[in-house]
């Protein structure tokens, strides 16, 4: 099957989108950018291709009718089981790596104790892993580093206390090992993980096991279908790291403009708030960029601002929006400097203001910055599409809606649930056009 792939190498996350020869989105993948764009790009792409497989499973199983009535539940379970398998493979790698990293003279006499503490930690981590991927389980993040890290530190603390091992030594091992592990790509394990996951799913959903062969067959045939990476277009800050020629690179402005147009064809103005950039883009009715403005000199008011605030509040990034939504009182927070906003936050807390009200003020501050960049780009026109990681944040969306209404009146605001993939979708569309419309072939760097 021909796959047209777009990869958006952002400062915080790296996203990939796969479209097929009919320009349907068939797969999406996302991973944290780490400090290694090469790995991030590979993993995001791999995730998107896995997601493509799931898409094809759905199609194949729907066609065969083997799971009539329980297809969605089955696929959801399969995906959780697959994530669990993937997690376990990485966890086992992390264990091996960690134990190896205790060797040598670093921990002196404590080496042995650290190693046996690690064995205990990983035993517990492995035992509790299925809970992390159970239906309805809440995770702060979907990235291995975050899930494994938070549980490792929690369990490590208990184990350290019980076993008389220094906690900082355990942290040290983790910090060292996680970088190695998250920079490995487990491409070969995908089919094996999927098949192992399938067995788990049959156990979890015994009623489907009776139809085992009818289910297994289409899945196997999808797994046997080669996903041809026909053409890839990269965008975002890490784009120069892609192993392709300049022809395969597009600016994120163009990709976001086109991606927004593909998602919502009536788009005239696009606002994208990413990790370190805020972009206001005006596009014509074909998704061609007419003008754009970006934040200059300073990235206050971008996604990282929220990341910083989350750290200051000791919260997960995804928890900020829901907290802010509980606000009942308007509080004004400056948006000119991220670090100052942190100071203001502490000041407000010490004055007794409620966390949710402060959070709402912070979200409004971000959007106020965006409003000024939008004004610079020529204002907001109908329809208005909001994209980027921050568009997933309901409090930011609420602040935007309010400010747009106050300044521009009622207009259509599009927020796609998959908006974080806008740039990658634009890239994938460019990849499609390069091959199908311009007859281009892959050029290596």
């Amino acid at each position: 099957m021909r796959c047209f792939i777009g990869i958006d190498l952002g400062s915080t996350t790296t996203k990939a989108v796969v479209i097929d020869a009919q320009q349907n989105v068939v797969g999406r993948g996302i991973t944290n950018s780490r400090s290694n764009y090469d790995t991030a790009a590979q993993i995001a792409k791999q995730e998107a291709l896995v997601n493509t497989r799931f898409h094809l499973f759905r199609e194949a199983l729907a066609k065969s009718g083997a799971l009539n009535g329980s297809l969605e539940d089955f696929l959801a379970q399969l995906e959780r089981d697959f994530r669990l398998e993937q997690f376990l493979v990485q966890l086992s790698d992390l264990e091996t790596t960690s134990i190896r990293n205790t060797e040598g003279s670093r921990f002196g006499d404590a080496s042995k104790a650290v190693a046996s503490a690690l064995t205990e930690i990983f035993k517990r981590l492995t035992t509790e892993a299925p809970e992390l991927f159970a239906p309805g389980a809440k995770r702060k993040s979907d990235f291995f580093r975050d899930i494994a890290g938070s549980r490792y530190l929690a369990i490590g603390d208990e184990v350290a206390k019980q076993g008389g091992v220094r906690y900082d030594m355990l942290c040290n091992v983790f910090d060292r090992s996680i970088i190695e592990v998250e920079n490995r790509v487990y491409g070969d394990a995908i089919s094996a993980n999927l098949l192992a996951a399938l067995d788990r799913t049959f156990v979890a959903m015994p009623e489907t096991a009776s139809r085992g062969d009818a289910v297994r067959e289409p899945i196997k045939s999808v797994l046997d279908t080669a996903l041809e990476e026909t053409y890839t277009v990269g965008t975002g800050y890490g784009r120069a790291r892609l192993p392709f020629s300049k022809e395969h690179i597009r600016s994120e402005i163009l990709c976001h403009g086109l991606g927004a147009h593909m998602m919502h064809p009536g788009t005239a103005t696009v606002l994208d708030i990413g990790g370190q950039d805020t972009k206001a883009i005006q596009v014509d009715k074909h998704g061609i960029v007419e003008s754009f403005q970006m934040n200059d000199r300073c990235a206050a008011g971008c996604g990282r601002y929220l990341g910083y605030i989350a750290d200051e509040m000791n919260m997960g990034l995804h928890e900020l929006g829901p907290l802010a939504m509980k606000s009942t009182k308007k509080i004004r927070i400056n948006s000119t400097c991220t670090v100052f906003a942190g100071a203001e936050l502490r000041d407000r807390l010490s004055l007794g203001d409620k966390r949710e009200d402060i959070m709402a003020g912070l979200h409004r501050a971000i959007i106020l910055r965006a409003m000024s960049i939008l004004a610079r780009s020529g204002g907001i026109r109908n329809e208005f599409t909001f994209t980027g990681g921050v568009a997933k944040n309901e409090a930011a969306v609420k602040a935007l809606k309010d400010l747009v209404r106050e300044n521009y009146g009622e207009l259509t605001l599009n927020i796609n649930p998959e908006s974080i993939f806008t740039g990658a979708l634009g890239g994938a569309t460019f990849a499609y056009r390069a091959v199908v419309e311009e007859g281009k072939t892959v050029e290596a760097r």
């Binding site: 600016s251 061609i288 007419e290 000199r297 610079r376």
Partner: protein
């Protein structure tokens, strides 16, 4: 105005004999600039007085009539910027009490004073005997010389140039400037120098000026060719050097422009592109008009961002800050004082918004440019104000895409290479995309 030698990779490290050949004009220019610094450094021991004055509206021909050695503080600052010396100077000035938002030319100059007036070439520059403040469009000029006067307690004379608020030069404006020349400027120059004013000497210098100005205009307008043989922004910085500084009116300048014009004529005949720091530009992909000065501290990197993408600046407003000769003005030996008045009044910095917009639109049309790029200067409040309005108006009138970036003159801290490159590449791709869409539309009809 600059040091072309470091910028020409093909140049041998030894100076070639001054024969007329490809880069001769640039060699000549460097020699002239260095000679002027030496002349300044030795002026007092040779019994010469020293004047300091600003580039826009500088009265070089008049000042020469009184045998002054001529120093131009902005040029000193930019030379120090290009030679990577301005960063420390600016920090020294800040330590001395200048705020972060003050014009960085001013701070580089004050920092140079604090460091013992060691000039760009390493020779100690003299204390000026006279500050000639030709006040054209920049309010900061006045404050700048106020600070210098405070420090050195030197004689100051001001030539007040009325702003072209209505977009035209009236007879009374001309008379007002001439009156100041007669009643205040010339008598002060006579008194400080001890030299009697000789109007015939002024006429003679002006004859030289007009000849050189003719050649400069031809050189700048050569960019109307395809490919353009010059870069009308980065390259033009070299070409305007002698004209805008201490040389206009001298036979050396006339000779320089003669050599330069011949050299450029030859490049036009050979259909050659401009010489950039990275060598000759062989494929002209984008033709741009630029508003705003370049960044001096990362001049070469900045230029490379254009050259790497095949972008040539065909016209810039910056190449007109010391005189808009291409719009027809010439120093006129038959009406010397009136012509000096006309010159000061007509400077680019003294033009109002509609005039600046008209000029840019005209450039886009006459030079067949793909669009407008504004490099807005962070620390220049008087000149950067209104640039976004200009951008939008130009976009509207020409239908050509425009883009906006921000950097600074000589403060290395305000040049964020990754961000500027990102925006520039986006802009170039936007032009390309629009062009291919327009091409497809034409083909479809």
């Amino acid at each position: 105005m600059s040091t072309p030698i470091q910028m020409m990779p093909s140049q041998p490290s030894k100076k070639p004999a001054p024969k007329v050949q490809k880069e001769d004009a640039m060699w000549l220019q460097k020699e002239m600039i260095n000679a002027n610094y030496h002349e300044l450094a030795t002026a007092h021991e040779r019994g010469k007085k020293v004047s300091a004055t600003f580039v826009p509206g500088n009265l070089n021909e008049l000042v020469m009539c009184f045998d002054f050695a001529r120093s131009l503080p902005e040029t000193n600052a930019l030379q120090n910027g290009m030679r990577k010396k301005s960063g420390k100077m600016i920090m020294d000035a800040e330590r001395d009490g200048q705020s972060e938002d003050v014009c960085t030319y001013v701070k580089a100059d004050l920092g140079m004073m604090l460091g013992g007036e060691i000039g760009p070439t390493g020779e100690k520059l003299p204390t000026p005997d006279l500050l000639l403040l030709s006040y054209t469009g920049c309010f900061t000029f006045m404050k700048w010389f106020e600070l210098v006067r405070q420090k050195y307690n030197c004689e100051t004379v001001m030539l007040h140039t009325p702003y072209q608020g209505d977009g035209k030069i009236s007879q009374s404006m001309r008379d007002y400037v001439v009156k100041q020349l007669k009643e205040s400027v010339i008598p002060t120059l006579e008194r400080v120098s001890g030299v009697k004013f000789d109007i015939d000497r002024l006429r003679q210098y002006m004859k030289e000026s007009a000849r050189a100005e003719d050649d400069l205009v031809k050189v700048l307008q050569s960019a109307k060719n395809r490919p353009s043989p010059i870069d009308g922004y980065f390259g033009a910085v070299y070409y305007i050097g002698p004209m805008f500084t201490a040389f206009r009116g001298t036979p050396e300048a006339t000779q320089y422009y003669d050599v330069l014009r011949k050299e450029i004529d030859a490049r036009v005949r050979d259909k050659k592109g401009p010489i950039t720091p990275e060598g000759e530009l062989t494929e002209e992909k984008y033709r741009l008009v630029v508003e705003g000065p370049p960044n001096w501290t990362s001049f070469r990197d900045f230029w490379k961002m254009f050259a790497d993408e095949g972008a040539v600046v065909v016209a810039s407003t910056y190449a007109k800050v010391g005189g808009v000769y291409d719009l027809g003005f010439r120093h006129d030996p038959d009406h010397p004082l009136e012509s000096l008045a006309e010159y000061c009044l007509g400077c680019y910095t003294n033009m109002n918004f509609p005039q600046r917009i008209d000029m840019i639109c005209r450039y886009i049309e006459e030079y067949e440019a793909d669009g407008l790029l504004i490099n807005s200067i962070k620390s220049c409040n008087s000149f950067s104000a209104g640039q976004l309005l200009m951008l939008r108006e130009v976009e509207k009138r020409t239908g050509k895409p425009a883009a906006f970036i921000e950097s600074d003159l000589v403060d290395p801290r305000y040049f964020s290479a990754a961000n500027i490159k990102n925006r520039l590449e986006s802009y170039f791709q936007m032009i390309k995309q629009k062009r291919s869409v327009a091409g497809a539309a034409v083909a479809a009809h």
